[in-house]
């Protein structure tokens, strides 16, 4: 029990003194058991105020301090530093909130001062029972695992590696690049997407501190901030990376033709393939799912025959690797709503209804049509195109409630590029509202709108009726108040952005929260957008929500800076207010083990043990243990019972 408690009451100018009789409160506090000194001051949080506290601690040899002032959320650290500099353990400071929860909300009556007195009494009773606590120091593994090889993952990996820390970049697909590699040009500058992405990919693949794992997935994450153990499972590529020169002789030899995922099914590829010419690492991949050789039986080895450096190895096996990391960055990117979702547009029965990403492949020089816009049904150049905005976005009943942010811009870009390729082509863009908030975006859309042949029609499309080789678009023009029927050769749906495949499983493994739409949940929407709710795990790019490339790069750089902030310390300093077990009282009943949201408690030889890095001090375990054998320091049973006694009478 600390019996030399100092009580300091703040006037806070008039904020407290107007309704609380500070003098009576001081007299009352001075008489409380265990209180050695009581004093009031105009502004305790000011430097003179804190100096006053430091001097009194020295003069009166105080062993604990109660500050009766504003909410602890404002100045706890300030006052903790003040008492610490005077030799009192910072956790022997208790704050009585007599402003927000007393003087500001009650009239200037005696009862208000009585309440303030009770709050001070409660603070004193708790202060008398505080133990000196030292922050907990935990070792820190200065390495990071970045999951997702798109532009977000690449940017985060580069920024962290540039600062001198090793990075493991884990990509599910055969090569880096993600969504951005599938784009033709980017708005608003019409830069060629692969021209600006390839240098980054090359830079990350040559960086000495970055280890790239392609065809790899994270299957398990153990440990906590500073000390994660990440299990990476590597799928076999069946091509020896060192051997493959990228000559491509194997491709013509391969008899198996398969629809290409990279070209969204518009183009074909062989079983042995490389998704696009600038792929990094520039190594071919044998897709055994479609290869004629199923299982161990090898019946066709034409690719191996054609491979002069003998780089094909049919019996490569999956391998696993356990990586130690202090932080994890999730940059798993996004996907688009599948076209089968749009029954009213009858996609599954009409090949000329495609989505924005497929149109990008048609525009791309490395695409299935080598940059010529040809429609999938009969490969003719479409003379008229209808672009449907908000396909599945801003549609709570049948699709996603949110706006996918980038469709207005890439649709304007598509319209402009089509206009350049087919000057006499007719374009109809059905939109609800055009959202062009980025730098130079509005100007870009105005430029597109000004082109002749491009018609912005404000209204949604109800139905697509196939009619002798064309598609009749039934829509409405809400500005003219008329129904619109337009015949076009091709319809491009700007489909909603959705989280990428497999994010559910990865979130479960990494124990991070997911929001209602399946995107990763950030720690705070406004103030902590790059941190997940799990400490040590950071979010980069569209995995956290729809955004364009520039915002993704900035978001990824933000995540990297958080990691670097963490790595700038030699070790992790943890709040000491975490749970502590009294082995003598513990019955080993494991009720606390199942209640802990962070799996921080485990049983060793029949006694509970708290993992100090995992425990966050919430105290949910304490009421679960009726032997009262464990409790969070700073919120122990005896302190709270003393507070109840002080407040209830």
């Amino acid at each position: 029990m600390n019996n030399r408690v100092g009580v300091f009451i703040c006037h806070c100018g008039k904020n407290i003194a107007r309704t609380v009789d500070v003098e009576a409160l001081r007299k009352e506090a001075a008489g409380l058991p265990g209180v050695e000194w009581a004093e009031d001051d105009m502004y305790l949080c000011s430097d003179p105020g804190q100096q006053l506290i430091r001097e009194r601690i020295a003069e009166q040899n105080l062993d604990a301090v109660v500050v009766a002032a504003c909410s602890p959320t404002l100045h706890t650290t300030t006052f903790r530093r003040a008492v610490e500099s005077a030799g009192v353990n910072p956790f022997r400071l208790e704050i009585a909130n007599i402003r927000e929860q007393c003087s500001w909300v009650h009239p200037g009556t005696a009862e208000t001062t009585h309440k303030a007195a009770a709050l001070v009494r409660s603070g004193v009773e708790k202060a008398r029972r505080t133990q000196p606590l030292e922050p907990i120091h935990v070792g820190l593994q200065r390495a990071v695992v970045v999951i997702g090889g798109g532009v977000a993952g690449i940017q985060a990996a580069l920024d962290i590696a540039e600062a001198g820390y090793p990075v493991h970049l884990v990509e599910q697909g055969p090569n880096l690049g993600g969504r951005m590699a599938q784009l033709s040009e980017t708005f608003p500058t019409l830069d060629c997407s692969s021209c600006i992405l390839t240098p980054k990919m090359v830079e990350v693949s040559h960086h000495p501190l970055v280890t790239i794992h392609t065809l790899a997935e994270v299957t398990d994450v153990e440990g906590s901030i500073g000390n994660f153990q990440v299990r990476i499972r590597q799928q076999p590529r069946y091509v020896i990376a060192e051997g493959c020169t990228g000559c491509g002789d194997c491709v013509p030899a391969c008899p198996q033709v398969v629809p290409g995922e990279f070209d969204r099914g518009l183009g074909a590829r062989k079983a042995i393939y490389i998704p696009f010419p600038q792929a990094v690492p520039f190594t071919y991949t044998l897709d055994r799912e479609h290869c004629l050789n199923q299982g161990p039986l090898i019946i066709c080895d034409r690719c191996a025959q054609a491979c002069e450096p003998r780089a094909i190895d049919f019996d490569q096996q999956p391998s696993e690797e356990l990586v130690e990391a202090g932080a994890i960055v999730l940059a798993t990117g996004c996907d688009t709503l599948p076209l089968s979702h749009f029954r009213e547009y009858g996609h599954d029965r009409h090949p000329d209804v495609i989505d924005g990403l497929m149109f990008e492949r048609l525009l791309s020089a490395s695409g299935p049509t080598h940059g010529e816009i040809r429609r999938p049904s009969d490969h003719r150049v479409p003379k008229s195109i209808a672009f449907v905005q908000c396909a599945g976005s801003r549609d709570p009943e049948r699709g996603k409630a949110y706006c996918s942010q980038i469709c207005c811009m890439y649709t304007a870009k598509h319209a402009l590029l089509y206009h350049h390729a087919v000057p006499d082509g007719k374009v109809y863009i059905f939109y609800i509202d055009i959202r062009a908030g980025g730098k130079g975006y509005e100007e870009f859309v105005e430029r597109v709108r000004a082109e002749d042949g491009i018609n912005y029609i404000r209204g949604k499309v109800a139905k697509l009726i196939p009619k002798d080789g064309k598609l009749e678009v039934w829509g409405v023009d809400t500005l003219l108040g008329e129904q619109v029927k337009v015949e076009v050769d091709l319809v491009v749906l700007a489909t909603a952005l959705v989280p990428s495949q497999g994010i559910q499983e990865l979130a479960r493994v990494a124990r991070v929260a997911i929001d209602g739409d399946g995107f990763l949940s950030e720690a705070h929407p406004k103030l902590r957008p790059v941190e997940s709710q799990t400490r040590g795990i950071y979010l980069a790019g569209t995995a956290q929500g729809p955004r364009d490339i520039s915002a993704t790069v900035a978001h990824a750089a933000g995540a990297a800076s958080k990691v670097l902030g963490l790595f700038s310390h030699d070790e992790l300093v943890e709040e000491p207010t975490i749970a502590r077990v009294n082995e003598a009282l513990c019955r080993g009943c494991s009720f606390c083990v199942s209640v802990c949201p962070y799996d921080a408690i485990s049983l060793h030889e029949g006694t509970a043990h708290v993992n100090e890095t995992l425990c966050r001090g919430c105290g949910a375990c304490t009421p679960a243990c009726f032997a009262a054998a464990l409790g969070p320091r700073g919120f122990e049973d005896d302190q709270i019972l003393a507070q109840i006694r002080a407040l209830a009478c």
Binding site: R587, C589, S590, F626
Partner: protein, 331 residues
């Protein structure tokens, strides 16, 4: 009336094979209660009885302080009826004991156990070593001179037997039928519980008047806590002084706090076996609170303690559908 031949030999074999160090069972005593007895040698086995008149509190001797101070009694065999195996499951799920420490002799087809108080209320003249058998819905009491009385089963058995859902053991290493398979008729299990329903029907003031008159009589002898097989904490918080949850003085407020804290520590664990009420020297109706809470957790959370030896504790988990009327401001 010692053990049937088959069971007697089986228990002796357990000693012989070294499978157990002791056997826990009941021995008959003068008057209708019986006493728990720990047999350390095969010879002592023959004193045991299966009479429904001799059903003392056995399981407390598995988790009591004596048991903890005398580990040599384990592994221990226990003659356990259905309700007792349910209590064993709860103890195992709380790691009070390891499953391999207890050899469970399951007493199947249990017709029920006689409540000594109810029997002496109906047969005050009873003396000596009476014999009692339960046949269907009737209890036959016999003395040396022959049949003494034939009474209704639901009027005589323990409260827990009237609501019994577990006439068969939930877990056992060896099974023995108390009633031959041929003439076994599943006893009627009664749902309504007049004691609890009477209090539920009262308004708060009446309820408090009733409980005030009971809790004032509590002498804080801890008999209820010490009789409970689930109260085996090293240093029970009801006796601790730093921090002090319940003060030493024996008065209405402290007695109320004592019982409320004890019951709250048993919510979701207690199997309503009624031993606390049986042990109370001043006959406080503690069983009412235990059965009320057992019904509540079943009704609100579908939780029945002791059905699964590795079950989760009710108050350590939650179910997203828990939307009971607590946050009334929300409705």
């Amino acid at each position: 009336m010692s053990l049937p031949q088959v069971l007697d030999r089986h228990l002796r074999d357990l000693f012989g094979s070294g499978r157990v160090n002791s056997v826990l069972g009941a021995i008959p005593t003068r008057g209708p209660l019986g006493m728990a007895q720990l047999a350390r040698t095969p010879e002592e086995v023959e004193r045991f009885t299966l009479s429904p008149l001799a059903c003392p509190n056995l399981l407390v001797h598995l988790t009591s302080k004596e048991a903890r101070l005398d580990p040599t009694r384990f592994p221990l065999a226990v003659l356990a009826r259905g309700c007792e195996t349910r209590m064993l499951n709860q103890i195992f799920s709380e790691h009070g004991l390891r499953r391999d420490q207890v050899y469970v002799v399951g007493l199947a087809h249990c017709p029920g156990a006689i409540d000594p108080r109810r029997l002496s209320a109906q047969l005050p003249v009873l003396r000596g070593f009476p014999e009692a058998t339960i046949e269907g819905e009737e209890v036959v009491i016999r003395e040396e001179s022959g049949e003494l009385a034939r009474l209704a089963r639901t009027e005589l058995v323990l409260e827990r037997c009237r609501h019994c859902q577990n006439h068969e053991p939930l877990i056992d290493d060896y099974r023995f039928d108390l009633v031959e398979e041929a003439d076994w008729i599943e006893p009627v299990s009664v749902d309504e519980d007049p004691g609890v329903e009477a209090i539920d029907a009262m308004i708060p003031i009446e309820r408090w008047a009733y409980w005030r008159s009971q809790l004032e009589r509590c002498i804080r002898c801890h008999a209820c806590r010490d009789a409970c097989p689930l109260c085996y904490c090293e240093n029970c918080i009801l006796e601790r002084h730093t921090p002090c949850w319940v003060k030493r003085s024996v008065n209405l407020p402290e007695n109320t706090a004592y019982q409320l804290l004890r019951v709250m520590h048993l919510v979701g664990r207690c199997t309503a076996c009624g031993e606390c009420e049986r042990a109370c020297p001043v006959d406080l109706p503690l069983g009412l609170m235990m059965r009320k809470m057992e019904n509540l957790v079943r009704e609100y959370y579908g939780h029945r303690s002791g059905l699964d030896p590795s079950g989760e504790h009710l108050l350590s988990i939650f179910d997203p559908r828990d939307t009971t009327a607590t946050a009334r401001l929300e409705q």
